[in-house]
Assembly symmetry: C2
Homo-oligomer: 104 residues x 2
């Protein structure tokens, strides 16, 4: 049997990370976090910021992100990042810079 590539991974990806990457690997998930970066937005404003994403999908993403504890809904205000959400944003900020320089 060939060596090197085909051998079983010693360090396999943890379930937690796989789960996280699965959540973030859904459409608009990262974008929603990004759009809430500087200010709270209500449902319709958030939808507009995300290129008019379907309200059903927005609703689904908001639920998931809320379950993850990344965003919270403030009755008179709209949606905004929690402390954990802001921390995540700070982490993905360099990713934005990367995108700016590597994609036209």
């Amino acid at each position: 049997m060939a060596k090197g590539i085909q051998t079983i991974r010693e360090t396999q990806t943890s379930a937690g990370l796989a789960q996280a990457l699965d959540h973030f690997g859904r459409r608009w998930a990262l974008r929603v976090i990004w759009e809430l970066r500087s200010e709270a937005l209500n449902f319709r404003a958030l939808r507009a910021a995300c290129d008019g994403i379907s309200p059903a999908v927005m609703q689904a993403r908001l639920h998931q992100l809320r379950d993850l504890g990344l965003i919270e809904q403030i009755p008179g205000l709209g949606y905004r990042l929690t402390a954990a959400g802001e921390q995540l944003f700070r982490i993905m900020a360099p990713l934005a810079e990367w995108a700016e320089s590597h994609l036209e």
Copy 2:
């Protein structure tokens, strides 16, 4: 009209970032990058690493990531990260740490 929330965003998300977030917001895209973090993997090994993702989807992701210049295919070796891909990985590594600590 209410003020603050509903006003039009001063700084709107750039097209490049929107594009990048759209690419990464596809299933398995980030995961594939992650699995190639330390070593090259061939098609089948990469598929196995990604929980047995469908070959059609894997093929699609590989094409897209190759078009983005993040991975490259080496004939006898398999797929591996390009310099840009490794740079992206270095950026998303903290995100992995974050996921480990914030999700069970």
